[in-house]
């Protein structure tokens, strides 16, 4: 193929960001096209069916399953209150009468005279879908959700945990290679998105949770700390639903790795601005990377995000994403077309990267990612 495609993380000062906000089940859309929204606004709502409870009344009433319906005091679809009698038997001696009461407020879902099972359902729970970013509604998908759009600075991380949040950008590290310490995290960081350097240790993350920071954006963390935060070894990178008291976004990888200068400068340059971010990551088909969206005031001269990616070409900035030079950033010098033997003896497609110090390295194309703008 003429082009060499490689995964890339987007780091851009100005783009049009469109977020598709879809309910998990059909519901009601509460906004209109053209309406301005802020991150916390509810744009759509659905009713999640209530929990189902099972009651086997055959055993409780000492009856046959086929007699179930006959002993019911309440019928299917009827509303019941907690502790209300829903079934009873009719013994010869009233003293032996047994009654079955509802364990919940809800409705009778079904009564089975095959299994003697009564299913009760709790009332539905409302589910609110927030806009997530400050912007304008540009599309309404009937009964499903909306598309919110805003001009923004935008950067992606490589991995994250914790869900969507918003806050004010607050740089904590002075340089991209700085390892944060707990003393760097202050009570005034409550509700803020903290921008770090190369590494955040477990005490740093704990301190950030303690001061109620909204998020930490950092070059890397150690896997052992991730295990401690989650309380388990993460087997597959599908995240975003963790309830850990903070959103954590790593931009480079696992270990202590300086944040790419471009990412660091962009985020530090937005100090004091409101941003939305999400740690949700899915590294499978339909890749989702964590992100930071910093809405801008004006949309002038912006290009839409999520467009088709172009092939790599000489001059493009790249990040090496595998040992032995993991984390180094350089520019593509050339893209030799022929397969090249590497130290493992595999024959693969490579590229030559030149670094700021003038040195060069030949790297498998699979082991770099472009830094997209």
């Amino acid at each position: 193929m003429a082009h060499a495609y490689t995964p890339g993380l987007r780091v851009t000062e100005a783009a049009v960001i469109r977020k598709r906000r879809i309910l998990p089940i059909q519901g009601t859309v509460l906004v209109k096209v053209g309406q301005k929204v802020t991150a916390g606004d509810v744009v759509a709502r659905a009713e999640i069916p209530g929990k189902v409870h099972t009651l086997n009344i055959v055993n409780k009433l000492s009856i046959e399953a086929r007699e179930t319906k006959r002993h019911m005091k309440k019928k299917e679809t009827e509303v019941v209150k907690k502790d209300e009698v829903i079934a009873e038997n009719n013994p010869m001696i009233k003293w032996f009468k047994t009654q079955v009461t509802s364990p919940i407020d809800g409705t009778i879902e079904s009564v089975s005279d095959v299994t003697g099972q009564v299913l009760l359902r709790e009332p539905p729970q409302p589910l609110n879908l927030h806009a997530y970013i400050d912007g304008t509604i540009v599309e309404v998908i009937d009964r499903e959700g909306v598309v919110v759009e805003c001009p923004a600075a935008f950067t992606q991380g490589i991995f994250g945990i914790g869900g969507e949040t918003s806050g004010i950008i607050e740089p904590v590290a002075k340089t991209p290679d700085q390892n944060l310490t707990p003393a760097d995290i202050l009570p005034s960081h409550a509700g803020k998105i903290l921008i770090g350097g190369a590494h955040a240790s477990m005490p740093v993350i704990r301190r950030a949770i303690e001061v109620k920071a909204a998020a930490i954006v950092i070059g890397g963390i150690h896997d052992k700390d991730l295990r401690e935060i989650l309380g388990k070894d993460l087997g597959v990178a599908i995240t975003g639903t963790e309830k850990i008291g903070i959103t954590l976004i790593i931009t480079e990888g696992f270990g202590s790795i300086p944040m790419a200068r471009k990412t660091f400068d962009l985020l530090v340059g937005k100090k004091g601005r409101k941003a939305s971010c999400s740690g949700a990551t899915q590294i499978r088909a339909g890749v989702i990377r964590p992100e930071i969206v910093i809405p801008a005031d004006s949309a002038a001269g912006l290009a839409a995000a999520d467009g088709e990616r172009q092939g790599m070409k000489p001059g493009d900035p790249v990040r090496i994403i595998r040992e032995p030079m993991f984390g180094r950033i350089g520019a593509i010098k050339s893209l030799p077309p022929d397969l090249t033997s590497i130290p493992t003896e595999s024959h693969v497609r490579v590229l030559v990267v030149s670094f700021a110090d003038g040195s060069e390295a030949t790297i498998p194309r699979a082991n770099v990612e472009t830094i997209e703008s």
Binding site: M1, E109, L119, A285, F326, T344, S346
Partner: protein, 600 residues
């Protein structure tokens, strides 16, 4: 079914990340795979049309072969000269493949049969529900609600057996009202393949809410499993319901000259055909980035399992979580800091397309692969079992052996051929590395032939076999299989240096190699692809090559690109726990086989 007359075939496999196309042409009397092309799969945004990736991969074949296959977005049929093809066929696992939930009355009986049926149909089984699975009713309902499967399979009860347990499961499913994974506003397909006496009640409960299909009971009696009718129904529903919701599949179905089948089902089909044709026991494995599929045919019974979270990239971190650090490190011939190894594995997980650049990185990946293969086979052995709960006629010797129903069908001593597939096995820089990875993780015993799938074309050949078996078989034998050689490994344990095996090999041309090997050795002898040698092995007392402890075994040994691997490290294979000793032992074996470049 008679073969359809074909001369030129184009076949694709639409995987989660890559769509792979191959061209098969009739050369003389034989079908050969001649060209291949690949392109990124385009099921996801921004394309959301699987056919774009298919056309791109075919376009690459056009460029390489000079054959004009496409007229715009149409495939030209039939083939005339250097234009067009006679048929286009495809498999698919894009978008995460077919994901199913199954339910039965009793977990170890109909629950297990339903699981085997869905797996054999090419599905990933998200959960198995049963009346006695230990979960309370509301927990089952909650679980069904959380899952968003593509399809459900409900079984339960033998014909004339329990009705209430089956109806109970149907009631739970109805209350949970699960939603399909793909598409909003269409009914989730469910297959009922249980007690025929409960079918009417099941229809009353589920018929309105879901797209219910009723088929023959998968367990009509305790002694008999009847999986094929339900398996065929799975394929029908996959084609006509599930795939209709996936982007571009309506177009793809129209392009194909035969029904599209799930990728693992096609691989299973070709492995089953090989076993049947050669009358041998076969084990097949496809170790991918996210999942590892294991296929087996033992005693003519086919089984497939998928270990959904054991893989070499997306799921690599889960291999560490399940196997444990010590089990991975036992295969690494150098010492490594735990934090460093953990970070490396996580970095591979978050950047799954990267490849090892240095030899030590390659050794680590191959160590992890050994554990993924081992764990996947363990899971396979647990499901590839005889039917449970059946009455067995026992002889006195059976009674002494304490055999029970439901024993694993996988007896490694009876295994004739292992076929490996997936990047880590098919593209290992040295073929002998694949041989040793499979030997180590499966602890091959007796005499076992090994092969790898050259470019992962088993799916293509599986679907092609449904229209022309000869075309599929020819390409399988000539272009798909890369024979690595044969492993000879006696079972038994001794102390290092003690006598283990005397053997005599009569090589092609009559040269005789006669040798005595001590316990704890690995030796590789050259025997090319297509060549055979006569082997006579005399194991030491306490060791068994397949003829019994200490008994002589003779056999014809097949060569391969690796050769003959004689393994006297003992079975079970026990590796030193002391770090220094482990590194020394692994280094000795690596050198003996010239396994890695820098250990020459």
């Amino acid at each position: 079914m008679a073969d359809r007359p074909l001369n030129v075939v184009i076949a694709t496999d639409c995987g989660s990340t890559t769509t792979k196309a191959i061209l098969i042409e009739k050369v003389g009397d034989t079908y050969r795979q001649t060209f291949r092309g690949e392109a990124p799969t385009t099921v996801e945004a921004p394309f959301e049309d699987v056919t774009k990736g298919v056309l791109n991969s075919i376009q690459e074949i056009e460029e390489l072969s000079g054959r004009k296959i496409l007229d715009g977005e149409k495939i030209i049929t039939p083939a005339v000269g250097n234009v067009g093809v006679d048929i286009y066929v495809s498999t698919s696992s894009a978008g995460g493949g077919l994901q199913m939930m199954v339910a039965g009355a009793v977990a170890a009986m109909t629950g297990e049969s339903a699981q085997r049926c869905a797996l054999g149909g090419g599905a990933i089984v998200m959960d198995v529900l049963a009346s006695n699975d230990g979960r309370a009713g509301f927990e089952k309902i909650e679980r069904i609600r959380q899952l968003r499967p593509d399809m459900l399979l409900l079984s339960g009860g033998t014909d004339g057996g329990t009705v209430s347990h089956v109806v109970e499961m149907a009631e739970y499913i109805s209350a949970a009202d699960p939603k399909p994974r793909l598409g909003i506003g269409y009914k989730l397909p469910i297959i009922y393949a249980g007690n025929k006496d409960a079918a009417k009640r099941v229809e009353e409960i589920l018929g309105e809410k879901m797209a219910l299909e009723i088929t023959d009971n998968i367990r009509p009696t305790l002694e008999r499993e009847n999986l094929m009718p339900a398996r065929h129904r799975i394929h029908d529903l996959f084609l006509h319901h599930v795939m209709q919701q996936a982007p571009g599949y309506k177009k793809l179905i129209a392009m194909c000259g035969a029904p599209i089948i799930p990728t693992p089902a096609a691989v299973g089909d070709i492995i089953e055909r090989v076993a049947k044709k050669e009358n041998i026991n076969v084990l097949g494995v496809d170790i991918g980035g996210a999942t590892t599929d294991v296929f087996s045919v033992f005693q003519k019974i086919f089984n497939r399992t998928v270990s959904a979270n054991l893989g070499m990239s997306y799921s690599i971190s889960n291999v560490l979580a399940e196997a444990g650090l010590d089990n991975i490190m036992r295969w690494v011939p150098f010492d490594l800091d735990e934090q460093d190894l953990r970070n490396r594995i996580k970095n591979k997980m978050i950047r799954p397309t990267t490849i090892p650049f240095t030899v030590d990185e390659l050794m680590i990946e191959q160590a992890i692969a050994r554990e993924a293969l081992r764990l996947a086979l363990d899971q396979h052995k647990a499901l590839a079992v005889g039917l449970k709960g059946i009455q067995q006629e026992r002889s006195i010797s059976d009674a002494f052996a304490q055999t029970a129903s439901g024993q694993s069908l996988i007896n490694m001593m009876d295994l004739n051929l292992v076929i490996g597939s997936g990047g880590i096995l098919s593209h290992a820089p040295r073929r002998v590395q694949s041989m040793v990875m499979m030997t180590d993780s499966y602890q091959l015993t007796g005499i076992t032939r090994l092969a790898v799938d050259s470019i992962f074309m088993m799916p293509h050949l599986g679907v092609l076999a449904t229209v022309n078996e000869k075309a599929a078989t020819d390409a399988f034998e000539h272009d798909c299989m890369v024979y690595l050689g044969t492993c000879i490994a006696p079972v038994g344990i001794a102390k290092d240096g003690e006598k283990c095996l005397d053997y005599k090999l009569t090589m092609p041309g009559g040269k005789v190699i006669q040798e005595s090997l001590a316990y704890g050795e690995l030796k590789l002898l050259k025997l090319d692809v297509g060549q055979t040698a006569q082997f006579e092995g005399n194991p030491a007392k306490g060791f068994d090559l397949g003829a019994g402890k200490g008994k002589v075994l003779t056999a014809t040994i097949h060569g391969g690109v690796g050769g003959i691997l004689i393994d006297t490290r003992g079975r079970p294979l026990i590796l030193p726990t002391d770090k220094k000793q482990r590194v020394a032992t692994l280094t000795k074996w690596s050198k003996a086989l010239d396994l890695y470049p820098e250990l020459k």
